[in-house]
Amino acid sequence: MIGIIDRRLVKNVDWALLSGAAILVAMSATTLANLSPGRAGSTVALRQIAWFGIGLVALAIVASIDYRKLVRAAPFFYLVGLTGLVAVFVLGRTVSGARRWIAFGGFTVQPSEIFKIVFVLMLAWALTSRWAQPLTTSTLAWVLPLAAIPAVLIVKQPDLGTALLLLPVLVALLVGAGIRWRLLASLAGTGLATMPLAWLVLKDYQRERILVFLDPFRDPLGSAYNVIQAKIAIGSGQLLGKGVSGATQSRLAFLPERHTDFIFAVFAEMWGFVGCLVLLAAYALVLLRGFDIAAAAREPVGRLVALGATVLIATQVLVNVGMVSGLLPVVGIPLPLMSYGGSSMLVSLMALGLLLSVRMRQFQ
């Protein structure tokens, strides 16, 4: 794979970014291996590492392609992506009340996961196209629907978390594309004004989660159960953590979704505040490399792609850790590179692949 790329490109691979990602996956595997006793734990950990390997191949493929080609093809990807999102309603498999998966032979694909990458590419294409210059209200008039259509489709699955994820990416790309601050402010104002309307669209359990976030003891054994248990798990880790065997909250299965969305609580219980600092530092390393690549990009397409990919990961980290530690309401968003699961791992590494692609062609 590397062989077919220009040698100059290889020289510019961002090793710091990759090692940050590798450290995170290593921490994920350690946590997963110790979550379940005996062989079950190591099986899960090995699968996670295998997905990391597969993800690295995807990363290499994405990085080897010139991101400008990808952006040029974005409208095509976008249409395919939308088709996938619609197909979920027709062919989708229902897992715990949500239709998010399509079976493809022996595989199950989660179109909304892959759509995150397509979304970044599509917005980069739209905002750098000649119809978007200059960036005014009339530009927004056709760019915003591009974001709104998939968002509505994803909310309907229902997958509120992924849909909400699109918003920060949209805002960041608008900012990066040079939107005037005043226009952004009025956009935000309009958004806030329509919030009550959104309340009506939400499903009962989604409303309940927001109410529970506002008042955790509203129903300590129902919806708030997860939040309270996660807080207890994190808090009881104290400064240095309980170690692997002492993590009773996690190992005794008080925590729900402890392999996936709540893995941060498991990590925090095992390794304490100090461990969390190391973990967050690894994320900060990855994100800072991403922002650096965006800032150093020599033309707008590269900057927007890098910015979008970085904000995509940043938002997931912030929302996930924020929700697990009780700062945000519970929405189902995995922690990139940490949570167990193939789709999430694949998409996170593809986002990093985009960053590398931009980085390697920075000096061309």
């Binding site: 960041a172 900012v175 990066g176 040079g178 054994l221 807080k231 207890i232 798990a233 994190i234 808090g235 009881s236 880790g237 104290q238 400064l239 009773t248 909250q249 005794l252 299965a253 008080f254 925090a268 304490g272 505040f273 969390c276 600092l277 967050l280 994320y283 900060a284 994100l287 800072l288 922002f291 650096d292 965006a294 800032a295 150093a296 990009a297 020599r298 033309e299 707008p300 900057r303 910015l307 904000v311 940043a314 980290v317 912030l318 850790v321 924020g322 530690s325 009780g326 700062l327």
Partner: protein
Amino acid sequence: MSRSAPGTPFGERRDAGSKRVVAIAVVVLSALLVIVGQLWYLQVLEGGHFLDASDKNRIRVRPVAAPRGILFDRNGVPLVDNRPAFTLSLIPRELDRDVERRDAVLGRVASLLQIPFEDLVGAIENVRPESFQPVRVRRGLSLEEVAKVEEWKLELPGVIVEVEPQRAYPTSRFAAHLLGYVREANDEQLKQGRYRRGDMVGQTGLERLLDEFLRGRDGGEQIEVDALGRPIRLIRETEPQPGAQVVTTIDRRIQEAAERAMDGRAGSVVVMDPRTGDVLAMVSTPAFEIDQFTGTIDRAAWVRVIRDPMHPMLNRSIQSAYAPGSVFKIIVAAAGLQEGTIVPTDKTHCTGEFHLGAWTFKDWKEGGHGTVDLHRALVQSCNVYFYQAGLKIGGTTIAKYARAFGLGEPTGIDLSGERPGLIPEPKIRKGRGAKTWYAGETVNMSIGQGQILVTPMQVARMMSAVANGGVLWKPRLVQRIERPDRGVVWSDTGKVMGHVELSPMVWALLRRSLWGVVNEGGGTGGGARLPGIDVAGKTGTAQKIAKSKAEKGEDHAWFAAFAPANNPEVVVVVMAEGGGKGGQVAAPIARKILNAIFLEKVATLDIRG
């Protein structure tokens, strides 16, 4: 953080764009700092509080034992069943942390249920105090005992009564050796890592052999409990998967009849279907009280069983080998006829004594049997005839035929601990303690004495070969294993281990003589005669090697039979230890069993019809 290279063509626009990226980076980093702040608050400032909360977490994870699979007989009648049983358990985490107050609670339990206080303390000694896993203290509580615990419940935090499925047997000793007992995994089994503490594991017999199939998978419940350990609500539940059902070859009616027939005697009964090798009944007496072994057995009872001079744990059908006595004459006759060394019409005059050099070998009948041919010699079990025949045939040839009939080697039955028995090799006697093979030893061998040792199961298989014309079956105990959801997961269609090649004339002669043993005048097996059913068989009286004079006379009584004689459906082998003469003791027992098999069945059919 930006690596801007000055002088690029888009310099000015780039700077504006970079600034915006930096602005977004600052927002993201600030958010990360807020999270660090929250973690500092949760883990460092409030950490102690949450640690306390995690200790007091009042959610109990309770395993729900999967019901063990049921063993059925060949007609679908259960051999063993499950019934709910009450178990007293302690939950370490819910016991008082204060040792004095905890001991007060345990003391109350001890006096309520008459359990030694040390047992209660000992049960939780090696368990982590924060464990939720209930530690079983006593299984099989009576209803009164349960009532007592429930009555005092509020004063007994950490003490619970669980309901678990437990083995239930038709009678206290029913098929004890065949089924085997089920108990909590012992330390050795725990070390293998396949079982958790408190798991019920088959320890002997079929329960052990088929443990993997019978176990099923335990389920679990997550239960929210209040400070006193009372369940408030069920949070989550995983259904246990019951174990697989096993269809054996046993016929419960025959098994019960055989056990009744052996009542009060030590020994063994094997009933086999000669057409398939199916074991229809397998009895070993005295049996242990299988229901006493299920769950917790007290030490004294265990020691009593282990030290019992009658060895009730021993499965005499396969784990004990005896001299076959005159039953072995079938082999000698077969060898002589097939090899042509003896002719059916040749006659011997039996005076009751046989002289070989300086030695005198006696017949069991004082004064002898008079002039006998082979048929009469088998019918009357004349020793002198066989002494002479044996010498003519030779020890080596007899041993060869004995092995061909499957004696002296394990039958391959699917139960552990089977003894191979012994057929001595007259030629090869080398090595340490090597002796020459004396002609006297061949003489002894001809009537099934000396060093020959066989198990009742081997005799049943040998007799089946006589009945079916030479097919040597692997004794079959299990027909198939079925799972409720997946159908048949294992099945055994029977396996032929070998063939005994004799000419049809020889088979016919043997069967006619064995019919004569039971049905002709002067036959030793007259005690097994059954009106309406032609029984064929051979008696045997094996001298027990006497270690002292007091033991003398305690001969083992054998009777090996098949019926109906012309179209055999069952083989019945009875061996009564120290019973005396085969014809007087073992044959009547076989008669009772055959009566149950053929005549009582007809009777029940009549009633139904």
